[in-house]
């Protein structure tokens, strides 16, 4: 079953809810090692649900998800996932260092090893000096960087990010986008990134998966051929704007493709 050279291999994936709503229909998607794949689409297209199915936090109705050739469940037990949510989900009874070391405690790392790794991770996200701060003493952007450090601390095979910068202001968001790219290169990780923002998706990704809603399907996949490493000037290149336009048009086409049936209130973005 295993596809060589694939971190994630999704085939024929469908997710329906008990309410009868089909959130995801016939999703096929392969992700290679080192890729940065964004999932973008309108609210209710099931992109967060898809991310959670890959992370084995939600079970699909049918279809298969393989992560490094294993089932998603096996991959979760093997600690293959680092997850970053829209809110940082830091434990406010723990200091910054102890938040970063939380997964390491779960993995049974020794105290000395944890300490060393926490130091490295805080250096990576440029939060050295904030070890003993409490999460609530940090700005939203800093909290999210702690959350990223925590997700990467145990070298997971796959980093799943669910609108990680959605709650931040535009300036912080752009700065963290740059940082994330730097971290991605340095940690050589594979990232699946859910976002609402077209420029963010284009700027960050190697591929943008455009989804349409009701039921959630993959409408188009836009390969982003912007040169690496990317920087502030990337956003000013004509190619960047072309790709933003391409994604925007794919979104619009996906939206036209299916008439939107009325959903019962509150089913949007549920899983």
């Amino acid at each position: 079953m295993s596809v060589p050279g694939r971190v994630v291999s999704i085939s024929g994936l469908t997710k329906s809810f008990k309410t009868g709503v089909t959130a995801l229909q016939e999703i096929d998607l392969d992700i290679r090692p080192g890729e940065f794949v964004s999932l973008i689409g309108p609210s209710g297209c099931g992109k967060s649900t898809l991310l959670r199915i890959v992370g084995d936090l939600v079970q699909p109705t049918s279809g298969t998800v393989l992560v490094n050739g294993k089932t998603a469940h096996r991959a979760r037990l093997d600690h293959d996932y680092g997850i970053v949510f829209q809110d940082s989900v830091l434990y406010d009874w723990r200091t910054v260092s102890r938040n970063v070391s939380l997964p390491l405690e779960m993995l049974g790392w020794s105290r000395a090893r944890r300490k060393e790794r926490v130091r490295e991770m805080l250096e990576l996200v440029e939060l050295t000096g904030f070890e003993s701060n409490r999460p609530w003493q940090l700005s939203g952007g800093m909290q999210q960087r702690v959350s990223i450090a925590r997700a990467l601390s145990f070298d997971p095979a796959l980093l799943l990010m669910d609108e990680p910068f959605g709650a931040l202001d535009e300036m912080t968001r752009e700065r963290l986008n740059m940082e994330l790219l730097r971290i991605w290169e340095k940690a050589a990780s594979t990232i699946v990134f859910v976002t609402h923002s077209i420029p963010e998706a284009v700027f960050l990704s190697t591929r943008v998966v455009v989804m349409s809603a009701r039921p959630g399907r993959i409408a188009d996949v836009v390969a982003v051929d912007l040169p690496q490493p990317r920087g502030a000037e990337t956003r000013e290149q004509p190619r960047f704007f072309e790709l933003v336009t391409a994604v925007r048009e794919a979104l619009a086409a996906g939206g036209r493709g299916q008439p939107a049936p009325t959903l019962p209130a509150g089913t949007e973005e549920r899983y």
């Binding site: 992370g55 979760r76 997850i83 949510f85 809110d87 434990y91 723990r94 939380l102 779960m106 003493q137």
Partner: protein, 298 residues
């Protein structure tokens, strides 16, 4: 910019907090004394006004119904029986005896309450099935079950104070169980997903996430239970005819109220003092533990 200045800002704020902490403590002591003085003034003022006007509603005020505060304080130094120990002496002994019951009951009740909450938090079925009975348990008057527990367990050879401690636990466990359950359920769905993504066992989720998250709820309950445990101990002693505690003293001085009203009032003050002490103990623990929660759950 903002990022770089945060630590400096925090340090700066830290210094100011440190400097104002001493002032804050002084202010709190000042407020406490002022309120206490106001309450004393209210007591004496009410007594004086009612006696001067001769009002009889809602009750006639005289030295029996409302003794002077200085008489109550003076009673502490009076001997309880001819040639016996002074009142403060016997009351402190009684208070120590009751404190033992209350504290033992408080700890036992808190542990039972917490244990119950943990079990119920992990089983929707048990929560639905057991919770109504836990609530119902608190509608049974403790006065009715006190003799049964004390006499029943006494016949099995359990010392009286231990039986009373069980009664105190009966009042204590309830707020802890209800609040801890709420706290254990209060965990953010994302935080649970995060723990799931680490393939954390239920046990780890409990101790690293649910319990720390529920500590503020638990401490609120412990504060309620702190005073309830003293009430439970005093009420437990009364029908069980245990003479050594504050309950026994209250029953005893009640009988002589018309002759020596100040003794009962003095006993009330000591009983209140005991409740406040245990409350303060919990509040102090809360300040230490909630600040250092991570070390305690690691």
């Amino acid at each position: 910019m903002a990022m770089a200045s945060v630590p400096a800002l925090e340090r700066h704020r830290g210094i100011r907090v440190g400097a104002s902490r001493a002032g804050g403590a002084l202010r709190r002591v000042g407020t406490f004394v002022a309120v206490l003085a106001a309450l004393c003034g209210l007591w004496e003022g009410y007594k004086w006004l009612w006696e001067w006007a001769g009002w009889t509603w809602p009750f006639t005020v005289d030295d029996v119904t409302m003794p002077h505060l200085h008489d109550i304080l003076a009673a502490f130094a009076e001997p309880t029986t001819t040639g016996g120990p002074v009142l403060i002496d016997s009351l402190l002994h009684a208070a120590w005896f009751t404190a033992k019951e209350a504290l033992a009951g408080f700890v036992l009740g808190a542990l039972i309450g917490f244990g119950l909450a943990v079990v119920l938090a992990h089983s929707r079925l048990l929560e639905r099935g057991l919770l109504p009975y836990i609530v119902a348990s608190q509608t049974v008057p403790i006065l009715a079950i006190a003799p049964m527990v004390v006499v029943g367990l006494g016949s099995k050879g359990l010392e009286g104070w231990k039986a009373v401690a069980i009664l105190a636990a009966y009042l204590t466990f309830f707020p802890v169980a209800i609040n801890a359950l709420r706290g254990l359920h209060s965990v953010d769905a994302r935080a649970l997903e995060l723990m799931n993504s680490y393939a954390a066992s239920r046990w780890k989720v409990l101790w690293r996430l649910r319990v720390p998250a529920s500590l503020p709820f638990i401490f609120t309950a412990l504060k309620i239970s702190a005073t309830a445990s003293v009430i439970g101990a005093i009420i437990g002693e009364t029908p069980a005819s245990i003479q050594d505690g504050l309950g026994g003293a209250i029953v005893n001085f009640n009988q002589y109220y018309s002759l020596q009203p100040t003794f009962l009032w003095a006993t009330n003050i000591v009983a209140a003092g005991l409740g406040i002490s245990i409350f303060a103990l919990v509040a102090l623990t809360e300040r230490v533990v909630l600040r250092r929660a991570p070390e305690n759950v690691a």
